[in-house]
Structures are given as structure tokens and as C-alpha cells.
Amino acid sequence: MSRLLIQNGRVIDPANNLDQVTNIYISDGKIFAVGDACEGFQADQTIEATGHYVIPGIVDICARLREPGLEYKADIASETVAATSAGITTLCIPPDTDPVIDEPAVVELIHRKVKNAGHANVVALGALTLGLKGEYLSEMAALKTAGCVGLSNARSPVHNTLVISRAFEYAATHNMTVFIEANDPWLSNKGCAHEGPVSTRLGLPPIPYSAETASIAHYLELITDTNVRAHFCRLSCARSVEMINQAKTMGLNVTADVSAHQLHLTEMDISSFNSQCHVIPPLRNQRDRDALRTGISHNILSAICSDHQPHEIDAKQAPFPATEPGISALETLLPLTLRLVNDGQMNLTTAISKLTKEPAEILGINRGTLSQNAAADICIINPATEWTLDANSLISQGRNTPFHGWNFTGKVSQTLIDGKVIYSAN
């Protein structure tokens, strides 16, 4: 039984309303106690954390690891190592792997690969419909037993509304959360940029607001009807934030997240056909970006995620509409969030909460907290380190980032999973 002491760090644990300089005592991979003294605790190892933030390990609610199916882009081993280097200790992957996560065998395969890799924890969402085809229900109970923490149809549309309604009812029967990427495929119509002055100027096929908002409205009615617990993924529009706020006010059991890049970039960033800024949902305008920031600081949105999508170099080497969307984003999730704190856009506790406690609650896992007996997943940050992101130095196999050359303040110095130091900056 190994005993570890992290001392004199600024411990921030939103789940316990804690923000003070104190010690963390870890025993047998679990949090033993948090406090200034712990009678009779003999540490085998002590980590000095003076001047550092000590927070629960980050829980990333959406990251694509590309395995199984697209291993030429990245794999579980490469991406979980990148995650822990960035303070992320738990990743949730959507079911759109190849094969699709619609049967227990695929979940087991993923868990086995994760265990072999031995880095970050990975939880999976199961497919809402078989093969994500929107026709037949998946075996939700079996997927739950296999370890799936929720259900989603990812970006694949379900055209038949009755199928959605039945899938929601069945998910509710098994007390499972459905994760919704709101998108009306007819309205987004193979678009690749926000419908606005920039897409008009560049002649890029546009995606209107309504592709997201009409879809949210549609889903909200079905959620009301079926009483399923629902989580909306990666909002991009100001109006979407408003709709989620209204739904919550009316007592609907809904939550929502936003990706870190949506809190920083806008349509202006694609104005030189920068394919690194080709993302789906698209970057919208400054008003939307500000509303998403407000959504976080006013607790309308519950989580900030990476929406990690690593790519091989060629995927971004083509004319803009022909490039693949997505950012290799694990290693910028915390830096971009801290940047908002440093810029005075939100307070530190809120930011940490959106990266730890709240996403863990949405996924229904006992992590993202430093409560007694919780898994000792911990991220230690030096808040004073100033550094510049170099895309070529990313640990992820995907080097596709629009944040190359950005300056950040604050860097992960150590990451612990189940009480073991799994990453150390030095």
C-alpha cells in the first residue's frame, strides 16, 4: 500500500467548494484526506506543490482517439499519453469509431487497449441506434453493462422522429443519458463555414444557425415528451445557449457543453482559408463566442471539452472545403481555459469546475473530485509558467492546431492517475 503526500499546493476542488493552500493525502490510489494535518499518515513519497494549483484530474467529455478504425491518424496509446501530459485523466469517446460502438465486444476491445496503454482513463458512449444508422435501437442495456456511460448517435442523423422518440424512451428506461450533437443535415447541407459575411466573401458552402437551433428545438420537444436525461454537445450559437437556458429554467433535465476553441476563435479566423480552423460545428461570429463564454460563466453550460480530432498532415492539405474538420485539441484544453481566466473572462473555480466536477457528473463517474475515497486523479499546475505552443511539439499524433504560436500562461507539471504519477514535466 503506497502513501503519497502532495503538500502546500493551492487545492481547488469545486465539488467540495474548496480553494485553499493545504495538503492532499493519498493512500492506495484513493484520496485519503485533504487538510493541513493527517494524524499518523506516513508518506512514502512527498510532492512539494508550493505555488502550484492542485486540481482534480481533468475530465474531457469529448475526444476522438481514432481507434478502432482510423489508426493512421492516431491511436489510444498515443492519445492517452498526450492527454495525461495535458492534465486530462479521463476521456469520453463518442461511438463513431469503426466498428461503431454498438455492441459490448467493441467496448471491451477499447477497454483492453486502454488498459494496455496504461495512461488516461477512457469511458465510451454507446451508439443510440445500430451502426448509427438511425433505424434500429442498439442493445442499450448490454452496452451499459459493458461500461458505456451514455448513448449518442454522434454526428449521424436520425431521420425518423419516431425512432428518436423510442430510443429516448428506451434510454430513459435504463436511466442512461443521451448525448446529442444537434445538427439538421438538410440545413447544414454539406456546408463547411458559418453562414455570414465571411462565408459569403470566400464563397464557402454555408451552415446557417438554424442547422443547430432548429435541431435543438426539435430534440427539446422529444426530451420533454420522453423525460430522458439529455446532454447537448458542442454548442456554437448564442441562440442555442438561450434555448438551453430556457429549457433548464422550465425544469427540463438537460445540460450542454462547448469546445474550448469555440470560446476563442470566430469566423474571422477562416478568412484566409485557414484549414486548421475548419471545424464542425463551424466557428461563428464574435457575438456567439461571447454568448458561449457567458454561458460558461453564468453556469448555463456545464462543461468545456477538447472535441479532440487528431488528423494526419494530408487531411488538412487541400482546398478548404475538401479538408477534414477538427483540431488536435487535448493539449490546448487546459491552456485555452486558463487563458480565459487570465483574461478575466471567468473565475478560476468556475473554469476548474467546467473541466472536472461538472463533466464527471454528466458522465456519472466518481472522478473529477478530491472527495475522500474518490480515485486520486490529480493535476498539478504551475500557474506562472509562460510558454508558446509549437504544433510540431504536440505529443498527440495529430499536429493539426490553429493555436501554433499562441502564448499561454500556466502549464501542467504533474499528472496522477489512481494515486500514481503518470506524467511529470521534468
Binding site: S199, R201, G203, P206, S271, Q317, A318, P319
Partner: protein
């Protein structure tokens, strides 16, 4: 609706948006110029200066004479120009070819259907292969917006790229030949002109380039006329006033530019039928009377008679549609000689210094 917008108000709108033009397009057009401010590539009209546009038109004026009397000049002897067309084209490719030949360059025509490239070789590989053949200029047409820009960012430094149409984004040489046509007919002072562009602006790279060019040349008023389904969102931010009714849209116009309506547009539920479109937006002799009596009628071609324009207008005394085609050669000669010309001087300097 902009139907009631007065000419005065529009002038102010145009000026206000011109400033944001520069901010948005900064990265986009910077790569078009070399360190001395000479034209290196022509990818888009956006961001070019009034002086640059005027200089291209002036150069084209000198070549217009070449076309009429002397057929060939030796300016680009020894240069190899590749027409790289990923999308079908007759007029544009042919006039580029003629222009290159009149400048004594060697021309290679390569037509690649996009389905063929998607089977194997990537666009970048295609480029590398052509580069290895020691070409000096790529003239590119592609269905994806941003292709010319992408290519210019990836070719070897001695190669010039001319955009012959990328998706819905830009078709700069077409816009330049249109400006040349307007200048020949209406004089160099665009400030007193009212120009109406009618038709499918949503899908039109030609219209986008024309709007930039007209704004840069300080055109008095630019109007766009179309149903809402054929107008891209926020187009007024490009410095135009929007009309949905052709009668008021072309009223007192000096120049009426008609755009081609592609038959596929009915399938996308953008329009009910060609008949209704012609009824509402087709240019007839009767309708043209709303414009100034000396107004000219333009069309980038190919025209759909009886869909966007009546034959009597297309072939009528106010039509300058065939002149546009002729001027296309001189304008393309001007752009080619200016872009390749700027290279040869900088190449010479490099050779001397090394």
C-alpha cells in the same frame, strides 16, 4: 429590403465597408504581391489597390492593339504556362491559351476531372509533378473555393498562380475584363456609374470578384438583384445594395450585368421554374428601358437565352457580351506578363546576388 435605398445612402455604405474589406482579407491578398509590391499571383481581386487594378487595365489597353494588328509579341518566350482545369471550361481556357500564345509562351492544357484525382493522386501530388516539369505558371480552375489560394501557398517560389475560377469564391480575370469593358464604354470615372448585377449571386464567383473590383474602382453605386434564395447572407456587407425586384433594381443603371442561371438550381428548391424566373428576372427589351438609354448589357457567358436574358437583348445594340470575350484575351495577356514579368526581374536579382 433595399428597394428604397437612395443612391446617396449607398455611397456611404460602400465606403464604410471598404475599410473592413481590408481587415478581413489581409492574409488572403498579401501572398499575391511580392516584396516590391508587384503582382506575383492573381488569386482574388480582394485587397488589390486602385492603382494595381488601373495598371492592369492600362497594360491590357496596350495589348488590345496587339490583338488587332500584330498577332504576337515575344514577352514570354521560353516560359511554360499550364492550364490546369479541374472543371470544364471552353471560353476561359481558350482565351487564356490564346493570350499565352500571343505572348509567345508554350502552353500545356491539362484537364483533370475531379473524380480522377479523388481516385488516387492528391492535388498536392499533381502539383509536384507539374513543378518537376519546370513550369512557370499555373492557371487553375477548381470546384472548391480556396483552391488557387491553396496552390499558391504550396508551389515553388518561382511559379505564378492565376485563378481561373475557384468554387463560388473568385474569378478575378473575368472581373478585370468586365472592368475593361465598362471602362472602354463608359470612361475611366467609375464614380458616376450605377451598376446592377442580376441573377444567381449565391453561386457566382464572377459576381463576387466584380463586386470587389467595382468597389476598388470607387463605383458610384453597386446593386445586386435576385430573389432571396439566390443571394448569399450578408452580401450587403460587401458594399452593395440589395434589390429583389428587377424593375427598381436596374432603374437608371449605366451597366446591367446578367448572371448565368444553372439548370440544377430548380433541384435545390431555390427556384420553382425557369419560366417563373424569366418572368420575374429575365432581361427583356421592355425591362431594359428602365435603365439609362445608353446603358450597356453584359454577361460572363455562356448565356441561357430565354432564361436570364432575351435573345433580342443579348444580340441587341446595347449588348457588349461578345466584346467581353475579345477583351478577355488582352486582359489575360496583361495579367500574365505582369506576374511573370515581376518574377524574371526578381529571379535575375537573385542570380546576380548569388
Amino acid at each position: 429590403m433595399g428597394n428604397q435605398t437612395s443612391g446617396q445612402g449607398t455611397l456611404m455604405v460602400n465606403k464604410a465597408t471598404r475599410k473592413t474589406d481590408n481587415m478581413i482579407g489581409k492574409d488572403l491578398w498579401n501572398i499575391q504581391l511580392d516584396n516590391n509590391g508587384n503582382l506575383k499571383h492573381l488569386l482574388t481581386i480582394e485587397g488589390l489597390s486602385t492603382e494595381m487594378l488601373t495598371s492592369i487595365l492600362d497594360t491590357a489597353e496596350t495589348f488590345a492593339g496587339v490583338n488587332e494588328s500584330v498577332k504576337k509579341v515575344p514577352l514570354l518566350r521560353g516560359k511554360t504556362i499550364v492550364n490546369l482545369f479541374f472543371e470544364a471550361s471552353t471560353r476561359t481556357r481558350t482565351t487564356f491559351e490564346l493570350a499565352a500564345k500571343r505572348l509567345s509562351a508554350d502552353v500545356l492544357n491539362i484537364n483533370i476531372s475531379t473524380s480522377a484525382t479523388s481516385k488516387g493522386e492528391s492535388l498536392l501530388d499533381t502539383l509536384r509533378n507539374l513543378e518537376a516539369m519546370q513550369c512557370d505558371m499555373f492557371i487553375v480552375r477548381h470546384e472548391s473555393s480556396g483552391t488557387a489560394h491553396f496552390i499558391a501557398n504550396h508551389v515553388a517560389p518561382h511559379i505564378s498562380v492565376l485563378n481561373a475560377g475557384d468554387g463560388r469564391h473568385a474569378h478575378p480575370t473575368q472581373a478585370l475584363l468586365d472592368m475593361f469593358t465598362i471602362r472602354r464604354n463608359k470612361g475611366a470615372d467609375f464614380g458616376k456609374l450605377r451598376v446592377a448585377i442580376v441573377g444567381d449571386l449565391l453561386h457566382s464567383r464572377v459576381a463576387r470578384s466584380q463586386i470587389h473590383a467595382l468597389n476598388i474602382l470607387n463605383t458610384g453605386e453597386i446593386r445586386v438583384v435576385a430573389p432571396k434564395t439566390l443571394l448569399p447572407k450578408d452580401i450587403e456587407q460587401m458594399g452593395v445594395s440589395v434589390y429583389h425586384d428587377i424593375q427598381s433594381g436596374i432603374k437608371d443603371a449605366d451597366v446591367v450585368i446578367m448572371l448565368r442561371l444553372q439548370k440544377e438550381r430548380m433541384q435545390g428548391a431555390l427556384l420553382p421554374s425557369e419560366q417563373e424566373y424569366f418572368q420575374l428576372y429575365g432581361l427583356t427589351e421592355e425591362r431594359l428601358k428602365a435603365a439609362k438609354p445608353d446603358a450597356i448589357v453584359m454577361h460572363p457567358g455562356p448565356i441561357n437565352r430565354g432564361v436570364e436574358i432575351d435573345s433580342t437583348v443579348a444580340d441587341g445594340p446595347q449588348s457588349v457580351i461578345l466584346n467581353q470575350v475579345t477583351y478577355g484575351i488582352a486582359v489575360r495577356m496583361a495579367v500574365m506578363s505582369m506576374t511573370l514579368g515581376s518574377h524574371s526581374t526578381s529571379d535575375d536579382k537573385q542570380r546576380k546576388s548569388s
